[in-house]
């Protein structure tokens, strides 16, 4: 992005006297000895830092520590070194859970973002009509419904006598009808569809709000140059939404990799291990198999995986103009 947007021209810090300039002017008068000691700043940060350390950093550190032990959660533990990690990557069942999570990215991330872009630009075109308001509300509704309720509702819809199969039979596709969540080949995609339904609204709203910031003059100029709606979308809308798309992709990819609730409610990882994802496997390992060490190791692997995937997305979608 080399084109200067109106935003970057106005807000560019170099052209405006910033707080730094003000301080510089004032400081000689106060003298070096009277300057507030630097540690005072720490006092302000301390409460938040303490909470962060106790409730975020400490659990992470403990998880990493537990991952090096064999421990049932109650009794004495024995040192296992990196043995648990070796098992995460060599046990086909455990590794398959990670692959399933990666497959879910298509449904949780690709579909909501692509579809969300399309829907958002459609809504934007009809922004003044009442239909736009209704569409926005309906699309955002899944975000408001608790995921557990959504999972239960969808497992009814997708059951062998559910609405989905009734509709299929009605239009003469009865042969395709099946227990979508109980079939080895369709269970994971079916779970993915539930996730896509939940996340589509979030992406649409995010992208819509991003679109409202785009300068209408750009569209006018493009139209004068003879650009059609598609050209406008590709050349103006999508590039201007770089950061919003970045947020959407990051949030949804993390939702896919760390998915738990939808899977737990709709299939519990079955049939077979067709929909087993790391989040659910960690839970089973820790609370049903009582292998706290293994569970922690898988959790650490999942955390590293999320960071490895999320950081490049952040980097790719960063606004390079500033």
């Amino acid at each position: 992005m080399t084109r200067p947007t109106p935003d970057s021209v106005v807000a560019s810090p170099a052209t405006r006297p910033g707080p730094a300039a003000v301080t510089r002017k004032r400081s000689p008068a106060r003298g070096a000895g009277l300057r507030t000691p630097r540690w005072v700043g720490w006092l302000f940060v301390a409460p938040a830092l303490a909470v962060y350390a106790v409730f975020v950093l400490r659990p992470i550190a403990l998880t990493i520590q537990y991952s090096m032990y064999r421990w049932d959660g109650i009794g004495p533990s024995t040192w296992a070194g990196l043995g648990n990690y070796v098992k995460v990557f060599t046990d086909p069942d455990l590794f398959a859970t990670i692959l399933n999570a990666v497959k879910l990215i298509v449904f949780f991330s690709a579909i909501p973002v692509v579809l969300g872009l399309a829907i958002a630009s459609t809504i934007r075109r009809i922004a003044t009509s009442r239909l736009a308001l209704v569409a926005r509300t309906v699309l955002f509704l899944p975000q408001v419904i608790p995921l557990v309720a959504a999972g239960i509702a969808w497992s009814w819809l997708l059951s062998s006598s559910g609405l989905v199969n009734q509709l299929l039979t009605y239009v003469g596709l009865g042969g395709v009808a099946r227990a979508w969540l109980g079939d080895f080949s369709t269970a994971l995609p079916a779970v993915g569809v539930i996730g896509a339904w939940v996340l589509l609204g979030l992406c649409t709203i995010l992208l819509l709000s991003g679109m409202s910031k785009i300068d209408p003059a750009l569209y006018e100029a493009a139209r004068m140059d003879g650009a059609g709606p598609l050209r406008e979308f590709v050349s103006i809308t999508v590039p201007s939404l770089r950061q919003e798309i970045g947020v959407c992709v990051t949030v949804t990819v993390i939702a896919a990799l760390a998915s738990f609730d939808i899977v737990y409610v709709s299939t519990q990882g079955g049939p077979g291990n067709a929909t087993m994802v790391p989040g659910l496997e960690i839970y089973y390992l820790a609370f049903s198999e009582r292998q706290v060490g293994m569970a922690s190791a898988l959790a650490v692997v999942l955390m590293v995986l999320v960071i490895l995937v999320a950081l490049p997305i952040q980097w790719l979608t960063r606004d390079r103009t500033s």
Binding site: R38, L57, G73, A179, G182, D183, P271, Y284, S288, R290
Partner: protein, 451 residues
């Protein structure tokens, strides 16, 4: 500026490191609890006359423990109850932590071996002697016995008690049975196969069963088939983790092949891999399905929902007149090793098994056979009820010494992580009977070794 930043970073690291260091040292540092040896008592304990509040942690959805506690307080007014309820899955996951941190006097328990290993349960040998529980039929208490250290189940000291013991078998819809001309329950496996085929060709789903989510209900017919083909002893040895026990035996293979034959013949619902327990029950009650492999905890419910229309029989043997076996398990309750009112809790458990009123509640509300001496008075039940036939089946199993624990109880994780996915794969045609038994056995070995 760069130096300052570095200094600040160092300070931050020290502060953070200090917070984190609080969690160092190997996990599970609490000193190992002393092993309880169940010292003998001079007299049978009672609840005394002082006010006592018993803390109980029970399974939600089953009214029996609550009804018993109400009746108990009526007879012993100094005893009050503080009852906490959760789903069984929640209890299973929380059992060790609850017993360690917030010890209840009485708690509904999953399989006890992992809890005994950590010395979380009170050894009940002293009570058993004082109350005379050791003179009851041994099979009633066998599943709750553990050798020292929790290595093998089925023998050793007593660590829990039952409120009653349940019996599994085959329920059938009498109306549908009449339609296909089944006048009496099948007496052999071959006869059962015949009826199944007849039902199928009459357009009736032969077997109502669940196999969805994390609970593979085909384990019910599978274990019944195992007991039809072979003796129950080796199956129990496997469940009790006796050294060298294996599930991968020739008769069990025959049984698994038989189950596969049923699957391939379409005797189960097509969507059985998506059917959970509640769905199975509602479909069976609506009349979808001739047979249902389930337990007598549903007899009371079925007597109410489809009065007079449901029958029950034990899994028929492979040969005419052969011995019969069934999964039978006590409704297990234990006392925390750190319980405040252990004596009163034990007195309650003894009362449940011996008090006539309590036994009556046990049968009427719980639908299962009460614990207690073989000659204890049995409450009367209506002749045509399912409850009557499940109680009679209980007597037959006792006679044939055919009680088995459930193959899903062999280890804490074997059901959700092994039987269920394997049975779901068998339904989908992605696993062979040979492969199924081999997989389960290898999971079992790693779990027994790992725990």
């Amino acid at each position: 500026m760069p130096r300052r930043t570095r200094w600040n970073r160092a300070a931050l690291a020290v502060v953070m490191g200090g917070t984190l260091a609080a969690g160092c040292g190997a996990p599970g540092g609490d000193a190992p609890r002393p092993e309880d040896t169940g010292a003998s008592l001079s007299a049978a304990p009672t609840c005394g006359t002082e006010p006592v509040t018993l803390n109980a942690y029970i399974e939600t959805g089953f009214p029996l423990p609550k009804e018993l506690s109400t009746e108990f307080s009526k007879q012993y007014p100094n005893v009050k109850w503080n009852i906490r309820e959760d789903q069984f899955a929640v209890i299973t996951q929380n059992a060790p932590r609850v017993l360690a941190d917030d010890p209840p006097d009485l708690m509904r328990l999953p399989q006890v071996s992992e809890l005994v290993k950590n010395n979380l349960l009170k050894n009940l040998d002293g009570y058993a002697k004082a109350f005379g529980w050791d003179s009851w039929p041994a099979s009633q208490l066998e599943q709750m016995r553990m050798t020292p250290g929790g290595k093998t189940r089925g023998e050793g000291s007593l660590y829990a008690m039952g409120l009653n013991f349940s019996m599994t078998g085959v329920f059938y819809n009498k109306k549908l049975a009449e339609k296909i001309g089944m006048s009496s329950p099948p007496a052999t496996l071959a006869e059962l196969d015949d009826v199944l085929a007849k039902a199928k060709s009459a357009g009736i789903t032969p077997i109502a069963q669940f196999n969805g989510g994390a609970t593979g209900g085909l384990a019910f017919p599978l274990q019944d088939l195992m007991a039809a083909y072979g003796p129950p002893g080796p199956i129990n040895d496997w469940i009790y983790q006796k050294p060298g026990a294996t599930i991968d035996t020739p008769t069990n293979l025959q049984a698994t092949r038989h189950l596969e034959k049923w699957i391939k013949a379409g005797y189960f619902w097509k969507d059985v891999n998506a059917v959970d327990y509640a769905t199975m029950m509602s479909r069976f009650i609506k009349g979808d399905g001739l047979f249902m492999f389930n337990g007598d905890w549903e007899s009371g419910n079925l007597d109410k929902q489809m009065p007079g229309d449901v029958g029950f029989f034990l899994m028929p043997p492979a040969q005419q007149g052969g011995k019969q076996a069934a999964m039978s398990a006590p409704l297990t309750f234990g006392i925390s090793s750190r319980a405040k009112n252990a004596d009163c809790a034990a007195f309650f458990l003894n009362w449940v098994a011996t008090n006539p009123k309590a036994r009556e509640i046990g049968v009427k509300v719980g639908g299962s056979h009460p614990m207690g001496p073989a000659d204890a008075p049995m409450p009367e039940v209506g002749k045509d009820t399912v409850t009557a036939s499940t109680l009679a089946a209980g007597a037959k199993i006792a006679e044939d010494n055919g009680a088995m624990d459930f193959i899903a109880n062999a280890t804490g994780a074997i059901y959700a992580k092994s039987w269920t996915p394997q049975l779901q794969k068998l339904v989908a045609g992605q696993q062979t009977p040979e492969g199924l038994l081999k997989s389960v056995q290898s999971d079992y070995e790693s779990q027994v070794k790992g725990s």
